[in-house]
């Protein structure tokens, strides 16, 4: 499966990418803002996405909405600071599968990616 990492911080993008140690994710794409995320997604159609919520140009919620509009089967994991429960709930309502709060440990992100990949696999079986 392919994973698109969306975060405006290079450090965070690297940290997430380093934690990709599960055999099912074979290819990683990266985007630094919402617009870029949506356009890379439209071109590459990766099965998995990790999404920051506070992003330049286009915010994370809007990016989630557009990605799910393009491909409703995409499994999206929000990786963001929990600034407001309202926003978190909205992300789920827009189609995010889960929420990992920043700051995170390498182990947490790695486990979360495993579950995301498993979830995506079970979705495609249906």
């Amino acid at each position: 499966m392919r994973l698109l990492i969306v975060d405006d911080s290079l450090v965070v993008r690297d940290a997430i990418q380093r934690s990709v140690d599960n055999g099912t994710i074979t290819h990683v794409l990266r985007a630094g803002d919402g617009e870029e995320a949506v356009s890379i997604f439209a071109r590459e159609r990766p099965e998995l996405v990790t999404m920051d919520l506070t992003l330049p140009r286009l915010n994370g919620l809007e990016a989630i909405r557009r990605i799910r509009e393009t491909e409703p089967r995409t499994s999206i994991l929000v990786i963001s600071a929990l600034n407001s429960h309202r926003t978190a709930m909205e992300a789920l309502a827009l189609g995010a599968c889960g929420f990992l709060t920043k700051p995170f440990t390498a182990r947490e992100i790695s486990e979360a990616l495993d579950q995301l990949a498993q979830h995506a696999a079970s979705q495609s079986q249906w």
Partner: protein, 611 residues
């Protein structure tokens, strides 16, 4: 009934082997009247197994046999004939034989799946590895199942009634399921929740904001696209404060959610409800302790910047005065609670003033809050037990003093006696201290003022150092707050900016008197306003100018309408007068509206006594 004897020992694992079985058989060739005879001899027999040379052919039940022979001519047809010929009448479809080791509840499900016409027929069971076939009566099977279910239910109810945790189930429409633990009612303070909407309950308990978030979270949990484990951390109801209702204690609730499945489908969500009040309070206490530790560091930093002698003097006085407050609190002076409260107030006010001057902000802040409490005690009536409200504050002030003193000991141990400091005479510190106070008040009040001191520090007897210093602090605050106008007001009135506060000290050896003069060039006493306030506060009518001027020394008098850290509590001048009079001196006030206000303190050069 004999059939009930076997029932008490049943468990959910019980199999058909534990039920009474019947192994009465008849060959297919047996006649109907022989069958009738068998039934008559064994009144509990549910039916017989019918066999031929090839094995079991089926079963005929008592009920079915009686149904058939009670038809018109039924007996005449059936009794003389071989029952085998009539087997088709008594059973239909394939022969169902259940293994004796099948659990009771499963066996009932199987039996109920039989053809509708067969449902009440006895059940055939195979024993001995299929060699034997016996009968179990359908009512026995039904009764056994019902018994097991009711035992199960009883145990479930016991758990639900006993478990401390609040558990409830909600369905897709957020309706609360029938069975929930009794604790839910205790924790939430609501009863009869079965069938209620959880969202409405939450709205009622927590307000619409929290209920709305809870609803969205619940919807996410019922959404198969959401991964349960990856939303646990964002549960918005993990710990929520119940809005305070009169008559209900402060409460924090916690809700945890877990999906319950039927196959792969999310059927319901299990909700665990917790009272987290104690937990939250403990966390708050811990935070408070950390905050206090932080304050301790601030206090140390602050103390290191304060002149060492002033600090020691202040602390000594502080601790003495706090003990004095304790005495006043336990034995009100002259038995009057009101007088004790006033006295405590003045002490706090004076301590606060000095703390501000020498730069002990933590002390000043703490004392200001203590004043608030005392003021509220005073204003809400000084009835029985009202002084008890002061205890925590007295205690906290004492702790602060002791803590500061310990800090000094530790700090001085650190610096040891490496750098012996220049011993400065204490009276000389008064002027820089007042200048600092004026500078501070100028910025905060938007007023400009400068200080002019005309004195020779040596003229001040050591014994009067403290009273003069204290009095000047109070008078300065008073002038800055009430006397001195803002810069704009002064310019409009054609007065010079900055205002001038003057202090002079004179020894009159011949009269044996020490005179302290303090004067500002502010707006002077507004006697009309004072009279007005005096009427409101004390009900004093028709005061002449002299009397009106003197009333500013009464405890509790203040013309400032708001209370801030600086003045406006109506404390200060009475304090000055009390201290001065206790030393055998007096305070006079002179004023000209719009021009000046002057205070004259006269003290005997030979002190009469100490306060």
């Amino acid at each position: 009934m004999a059939a009930d004897l076997f029932l008490p020992s049943l468990t959910p694992q019980s199999t058909l082997a534990e039920l009474p079985t019947w192994d009465v058989r008849l060959p297919v060739t047996a006649r109907g009247d022989a069958f009738d005879e068998v039934l008559r001899r064994q009144p509990d027999l549910p039916g017989v197994v019918v066999f031929d040379t090839t094995g079991v052919r089926g079963a005929i039940s008592r009920t079915r046999f009686h149904q058939v022979i009670s038809r018109p001519f039924g007996g005449e047809i059936v009794r003389p004939r071989a029952i085998g010929a009539l087997l088709g009448e008594f059973s239909s479809g394939d022969l169902m034989i259940l293994d004796v080791n099948m659990p009771v509840q499963e066996a009932l499900r199987e039996s109920l799946a039989r053809d509708k016409s067969m449902i009440y027929e006895p059940v055939l069971i195979s024993t001995n590895g299929g060699k034997d076939v016996r009968l179990v009566g359908f009512t026995d099977l039904l009764r056994a199942d019902s018994r097991i279910s009711s035992l199960r239910n009883q145990q479930m109810q016991e758990i639900l009634a006993t478990v401390q945790e609040g558990f409830l189930l909600v369905d897709r429409d957020h309706r609360i399921a029938w069975e929930y633990s009794r604790s839910v009612e205790t924790i939430l303070g609501r009863s009869n929740l079965a069938g209620c909407s959880l969202t409405e309950l939450l709205r009622d308990l927590l307000g619409s904001e929290a209920a709305q978030l809870g609803l969205k979270y619940l919807e996410a949990l019922f959404n198969p696209n959401v991964i349960e484990k990856l939303v646990v951390d964002i549960n918005p109801l993990k710990s929520v404060k119940v809005p305070e209702h009169p008559g209900r204690p402060r409460q924090h609730l916690g809700f945890a959610f877990r999906r319950s499945f039927e196959g792969r489908e999310i059927r319901r969500v299990l909700v665990r409800v917790e009272d987290r009040t104690r937990e939250v309070e403990l966390a708050a206490e811990l935070e408070e302790q950390e905050r206090q530790a932080g304050q301790r560091v601030d206090l140390a930093m602050e103390m290191m910047q304060v002149d060492a002698d002033s600090l020691t003097d202040y602390l000594t006085r502080f601790l003495v005065e706090v003990s004095q407050i304790s005495r006043l609190r336990s034995q009100p002076a002259g038995g009057s609670t009101r007088a004790a409260v006033d006295a405590i107030f003045r002490i706090l006010h004076s301590l606060k003033g000095e703390a501000g001057v020498i730069g002990l902000r933590s002390f000043a802040q703490r004392l200001h809050r203590a004043e608030d409490v005392v003021a509220s005690v005073r204003d809400s009536g000084t009835g029985q037990g009202s002084l008890e409200r002061l205890d925590p504050w007295i205690e906290s002030l004492r702790e602060l003093g002791v803590e500061a003193r310990d800090l000094i000991v530790r700090l001085s141990a650190l610096v040891s006696n490496k750098a012996p400091r220049e011993v400065t005479s204490r009276p000389a510190d008064i002027v820089p201290a007042l200048e600092a106070l004026i500078a501070d008040l100028s910025t905060r009040l938007g007023k400009a003022a400068r200080f002019v001191a005309r004195w020779n520090p040596e003229d001040l007897p050591v014994a009067y150092g403290s009273v003069v210093r204290e009095s000047l602090i109070q008078l300065t605050r008073n002038s800055m707050v009430h006397g001195v106008e803002t810069e704009r007001q002064r310019r409009q009135a054609g007065k010079p900016v900055p205002a001038v506060l003057q202090f002079a000290l004179r020894r009159h050896e011949a009269e044996g008197q020490l005179e302290v003069l303090f004067q500002d060039d502010g707006r002077g006493l507004d006697l009309d306003q004072i009279r007005c306030r005096a009427r409101d506060l004390f009900g004093s009518e028709d005061l002449d100018d002299e009397e009106a001027a003197q009333i500013i020394f009464e405890p509790g008098f203040s013309t400032a309408l708001t209370t801030n850290g600086d003045a406006g509590r109506g404390v200060g001048l009475d304090l000055v007068r009390d201290r001065v009079e206790s030393l055998g001196g007096m305070v006079l006030v002179h004023s000209e509206p719009g021009v000046f206000c002057a205070f004259q303190i006269v003290l005997p050069l030979e002190p009469e006594g100490r306060s």
